[in-house]
């Protein structure tokens, strides 16, 4: 059996219930008046009823009443503070207004793709080289097994200078705009003994139409590895790794035989179309594959042109067009957008 509750404790229970229902400062003020009011407060009234109670019991109840009074004051103050914390603070600011964003430019999409490729190969121990955009016939064609009148020169319709300008490094005068960055590789081999492991990025020029899929200027990244015992298998392994890293996915690849004058055997690397997972769609012309780059084993005539021992050394080379990869990466339809530099386009890029 529980002892009969003292009247003070009953009053406490009543207060607790009423406090729970209080929703505003006004409620709290009314509550305080109701229980602690000097004239008609419930606690005052209770104390007034103690006239007939024994002194001992009266003292005990008086002490309980005092405690209750303090507890009520404390509880009301706490609730008052809690209510104040949820209301508008003096000097409050509108935090929903836009912030002042520090200005931050973005690297151009073609740069981003180019550096993405460079970084993959830097991680595989390549060095990134640089070279002239105006070339002589030797470095752009002849040393690459493209003698004058070779029909394959038609594969790269060339822009020529109206009159020659001094060549890079005081060499042959430059007569044309490079059609690929391979000339840089020839220059590198002319002054460096094997082993070679280079990436040659840059702008290249062709006498091409200017439309949604062609520009007379585009960007290329070429790579070259020369050492003893370099094989087509090494080329496959390297480019498979590149494709996986570039597309950030375990991606199926295939190597198709092809033709380039400066490689033998020559191949093209296709990757599985990501638009249809290889099933065939408009993007891949229903083939399930997307052409990514040209590659092959360095033609012995190229080694002979730069004075490398073609018996001792073998090598592989590859070349990839950045615009085409960028179209795919960013889902852009028209290659010309890369040269318009419309801020509304560029500012959508990740920094």
């Amino acid at each position: 059996m529980t002892p009969p509750a003292s009247p003070v404790e009953a009053l406490r229970a009543e207060f607790d219930a009423a406090l729970g229902a209080a929703r505003s400062s006004a409620d709290l003020r009314a509550l305080r008046d109701q229980f602690l009011g000097r004239r008609s407060g419930r606690l005052t009234a209770l104390l007034k009823t103690l006239g007939g109670v024994e002194p001992e019991a009266r003292r005990a109840i008086g002490s309980q009443a005092n405690t209750l009074k303090q507890d009520i004051e404390t509880a009301i103050a706490a609730r008052e503070a809690a209510l104040a914390a949820t209301g508008p603070a003096p000097g409050a600011i509108d935090v929903t207004l836009p912030g002042r964003v520090p200005p931050l430019g973005r690297r151009h999409p073609l740069t981003q793709v180019r550096e993405r490729i460079e970084d993959i190969f830097l991680g595989m121990g390549y060095e990134v080289i640089d070279g002239p955009e105006l070339e002589d016939d030797w470095h752009n064609f002849e040393a690459l097994n493209l003698p004058p009148e070779h029909p394959a020169r038609d594969m790269q319709d060339t822009l020529y200078l109206a009159s020659p300008v001094p060549g890079a490094d005081g060499g042959r005068p430059a007569t044309l705009l490079r059609t690929h960055t391979s000339g840089m590789q020839i220059r590198h081999m002319e002054r460096t003994a094997p082993p070679v492991r280079i990436i040659a990025p840059g702008r290249v020029y062709r006498r091409d139409n200017f439309d949604a899929t062609h520009t007379p200027m585009f960007t290329q990244v070429e790579g070259l590895v020369v050492d003893e015992g370099i094989s087509l298998g090494d080329l496959k392994g390297t480019l498979n790794a590149f494709a996986e890293r570039f597309f950030d996915a375990k991606i199926r690849t295939r190597f198709r035989p092809s033709f380039f004058p400066y490689t033998e055997p020559s191949a093209e690397l296709d990757v599985e179309c990501q638009g249809c997972a290889g099933a065939g769609c408009a993007l891949c012309k229903q083939t399930g594959w997307i052409e990514v780059l040209g590659c092959g084993m360095v033609h012995p005539a190229v080694f002979e042109a730069v004075g490398y021992d073609a018996e001792r050394y073998t090598g592989f080379a590859f070349g990839v067009g950045i615009e085409r990869l960028a179209l795919r990466l960013y889902g852009v339809q028209d290659i010309r957008m890369f040269y318009e530099n419309d801020l509304r386009f560029l500012e959508q890029l990740a920094p």
Partner: protein, 681 residues
Amino acid sequence: MKVPVSWLREFADLPDDAAEVGRRLGACGFAVDGLEGDVLDLDVTANRPDGLSVYGLAREAAAAFGVPLKPAPGTTALARKPAGHEKLPVSIGDAGCGRYVLALADVQVAPSPVWLADRLAAAGVRPINNVVDVTNYVMLETGQPLHAFDAAHLGGPEIRVRRARPGETLETLDGQARQLEETMLVIADRERPVALAGLMGGATSEVSRETRRIALESAWFRPTVVRAASKRLGLKTEASARFERGADLDAPARAAARALELLDDIGAGRAAGPLVDVQPLAVERRTVTLRTDRLARLLGDTVPAADVERILGALGFLPRAAAGGWDVTVPSWRVDVSREADLIEEVGRHWGFDRIPATFPALRAMPRPSAPPVLRARVLRRVLCGAGLQEAVTFTFIEDAAAAPFAAEADRVAILNPISEKFGVLRPSLLPGLLDSLVYSRHRESADVRLFEIGTAFVRAGEQARAGWVLTGSRGSHWSGEAGPVTFADARGVAELLAATFGVALAVTPADDLPWFARGRAARLAIGGRPAGWIGELPSAYVEARGLGPSDRVFAGEIDLAVLAPDGAPTARAIEPLPRFPSIVRDLSILVDERLPAASVRDTIRSHAPATLVGVREFDRYQGKGVPGGQISLSVRLTFRAPDRTLTDSEVQQAVDAIVAALARDHGAVLRGTAGPGTAE
């Protein structure tokens, strides 16, 4: 090359699934560009003239599927003796022709039978009449171009292969009157040219409904000769495509016999005599050595000897076992195969590139650092993007008018064969292209544009690596208040940032000789005494001509990267120890002539101050109320500090007094006030 699979199947027992045939041909180097019904559109690479024929592709397909290949078309017909005895004299007077086969045939010109016309149409060739169609059909089938002359229109009649003579002309089958040059090889009768060798026949000897007798040509012309004439005349034909890649010197007689056989088969005509075959150039039987170990090393895979021999044999090569490999005789139609690597490709592509295991090349030497310009560009991009400029990529070639202000005509690098005048010269500066991009964005709802580009500028002396920047609009609008418009100071600030990045001192001097900038609003940059570029405001007329408004102001700068950072990326710099004693700051406001450059004031201050002056920085320039006309109020903050002690107010005051006196003496400067701790205003 468009080829019906049913036609391929005439020469080898291939599956009738065109897609499957296409896949296998693609896997050995003939990429499928399209497939419509039974017709494969194959991409034949420039080194494979033999692939420009149904029989050549059938050979590849037969090798790929491991099925036998039937003899070449015309093989049996060539062995037969024709009935008649009629023939024309043929003479070859130039090394551009290696072989000339001629046959006479009596014909009844009429439309071709439907099957033949359909097949030509499927292959993309327009049917004309039975005689012409037979020549085209046999060309597609064998790869050997043929031409039929109306024999009644040949002077002599005879055939002379020779160079064109000065002044000679020829109306070709396409109706064009061609001016011939002495470098061009022609087929002539006794008097005049009747065909351009390897390119196109002449109109006067064209086969027509009245033709009763034809002279059928099947010849071999030197690739360089056909190619040169084709380029010179801007004329490309099915025949020239085959000759300039290299036709089969062994094919002409067989192809002629095949054509006569087909004429007979369809009732279009019959040989009137034997083949006349003049062949000054002998068929070369090349032998190329293929070593087993080289094959394995280059492919990175071991192909069994039996497979090597099977593959080469199926493609028409004759491999004979020799020490360490094979001596391989190359068939006459494989003009592309002359060295061991070529044979390795043959084995590799039919063995299957996909079967070759993927490996990794060993790294046997320490990788070298990348080229300085590459490293430099990366730093520049990081800094400029961080500074809020957007990277642009603009065309290297621009129109001459846009280049004109930046370089005298003699210094501009023009393109000989530009795509259009818009791309006529190589840019002498990055600024015209950047301005075009700025204008492009301004016209497309971007008010504030800040662009930079890293690239090459071209002058007569050669290539110059540069960075350029253009700025317009506000410095950043925000609800809390406008930051104000960009000014010259922003363009100059970019140059200062770049100089600080590479740890070089930048000298900025006023320049009035830069015609692409507004007068009085431009400066030259120099680093270590070397010219390094320029900054300025573009002239309003120039900006307006490009389509911006009269109130639009564009500021720009360009810096020569070989001067800014010849070594590439900045190297780590030793950090100066932080000061151990406090500095004392004095602000100085003076009235000076408005034309006096701040740099002069700064120089005077520096040259009259003790070594304890460690900083001079302008913080206000004011003109207006309280400042006499023609003058400005310039406020400068001077920072004094000694490395070894705390300076006293009185020694700083002495220094300031000396500076004020020097400014008054050298520039007539009037002190408006000084401020600083312990100093009365």
